[in-house]
Symmetry: C2
């Protein structure tokens, strides 16, 4: 297959490395010549350039730009690609992208590879990042079946676990397990910072250990990513936040009323059900506090 | 020094291993003969038994029982020890313990070694668990200076970083960085479980990755530990929870009102200030969601 990748950042670079290994011919498009050169040098693309027109002969194009640029990019690609070409994207929210993009290009298939690294940029790209990770496709009822099938085959070549969901269900699911944790975790850091007694605040900073470290990690991440989640997944993230606040209020109330059976039941359920979300091996952890 | 350890669980066992290596003679007391045998076999104690009377000649005793048992244990030890002996404990809350224990025994010094492992019990004990970790002492104004000095020396022999704090300041600091994260994290799991749409709930479980894993880890821990935190540190944990809820409400409001500058400011501050609490090397993490 001749595959185009628009946006040679971390995800675009990782896709290029894996797709070339799978035997595809990959052309990359970036806004910067230096990025094209890096991508070529590291073998993430067979060739690269600044001009979208070079994608006119591609069978399929991955749009790997930031979320804000996906829809405008599909509009530009629509002027360039042959009608049989497929467009897919890698944006982490789908409802706000898939409907307008499908209007612009009937053979558009929304996708979300749920993998990545803390680092950004083509320099951080490496092979096999998608191996064993979820990759969600979010076709609409009217999405071309052949286009879905072709993108699905590529996803399987990446070694990803393929899931299908409606855009709305995808967005609510990632609101729960990806976007809500960011807001919960950032609020935790903000709460600690709000301590007015400097002696206590400093002591807390000195004593913070693995429990605080893990719980605060995603909240201390890239602020622009957090903003994007909120802007592009506003209703789903609000729905999750409001349901979360109800749980938090129940917890607060149980402690206020010394309703220990309710608190234990809540903690017990969290303990028992967490493996439904993630099953990790036990590891050394701060437990005596 | 002749040192007694009452309660041969994980912390008692770890202390025994390190104190013996530092040249002290260690006698362990447990309620179960099999635990005494294990502790002896693994070299965590020089000798061990069921009877507190054997501690009558000790210079210092570590009380390593669960929090609920600390005060009653100090009362029992007061009938056995010589008046010069020092008692210290390892409980993770201090205000509710230190004042009554000091009433019972003037040479009581409250302590909290902030180290541990996910596993419990003497079998999980190992050397050097306290090395490089915080160890907080929480003396009262009336606490004997010589007793503080002797416990401090032992803490330094463990290789721990020694901190001093009032019991109340200790409790508020650990409420922020240890107890609040448990409630925040358990509420996150409960929030996700509250999703009424089974398709979305199942998809969320399938897609959950490192971000959810880390943010939910301490909330999915031992329910009895969480209960103990709430019971013994009720006012400090409530103060932290209510301040946290204010931050959460600001976050929710910013998203509801599309007040993106406020949301970015909050996320930016969390990003910038988190290293004040914990500075970790970057690691591979799910970032594209």
């Amino acid at each position: 297959m001749k595959i185009g990748i628009v946006g040679l950042g971390l995800i675009g670079g990782c896709l290029g490395l894996d797709l070339r290994r799978a035997g595809h011919w990959v052309y990359g498009v970036s806004r910067r010549q230096v990025t094209c050169a890096s991508a070529s040098a590291m073998g993430a693309v067979d060739a690269a350039g600044l001009d979208l027109a070079a994608l006119s002969t591609m069978d399929l194009v991955f749009v790997c730009t930031p979320i804000t640029a996906i829809e405008p990019m599909v509009a530009q690609l629509a002027k360039v690609l042959s009608p049989e070409a497929i467009i897919t994207d890698v944006g982490s929210v789908k409802a706000s992208i898939v409907a307008p993009a499908t209007q612009l290009w009937p053979r558009f298939v929304g996708g979300h590879p749920m993998a990545g690294k803390a680092e950004a940029g083509i320099e951080a790209a490496e092979a096999s990042v998608f191996l064993g990770r979820p990759y969600v496709l979010t076709p609409l009822p009217e999405t071309d079946a052949d286009a879905i099938s072709q993108v699905s085959q590529l996803v399987q070549q990446l070694g990803s676990h393929l899931y299908a969901a409606t855009p709305a269900n995808h967005d609510q699911a990632v609101a729960w397990i990806s976007h809500l944790p960011v807001m919960v975790s950032a609020s935790l850091i903000q709460g600690c910072l709000s301590e007015p007694d400097l002696t206590i605040k400093t002591l807390a900073q000195q004593l913070a250990s693995s429990g605080f470290c893990d719980t605060s990690r995603v909240g201390g991440g890239n602020p622009e990513l957090g903003l994007m989640m909120a802007q592009y997944n506003q209703s789903a993230i609000l729905r999750a936040l409001l349901a979360y606040r109800q749980q938090l209020d129940s917890c607060i109330q149980a402690i206020q009323l010394e309703d220990w059976p309710s608190l234990v039941e809540m903690l017990q359920q969290a303990h028992e059900q967490r493996p439904q979300y993630i099953d990790e091996p036990p590891r050394r952890a701060y437990s005596n506090a």
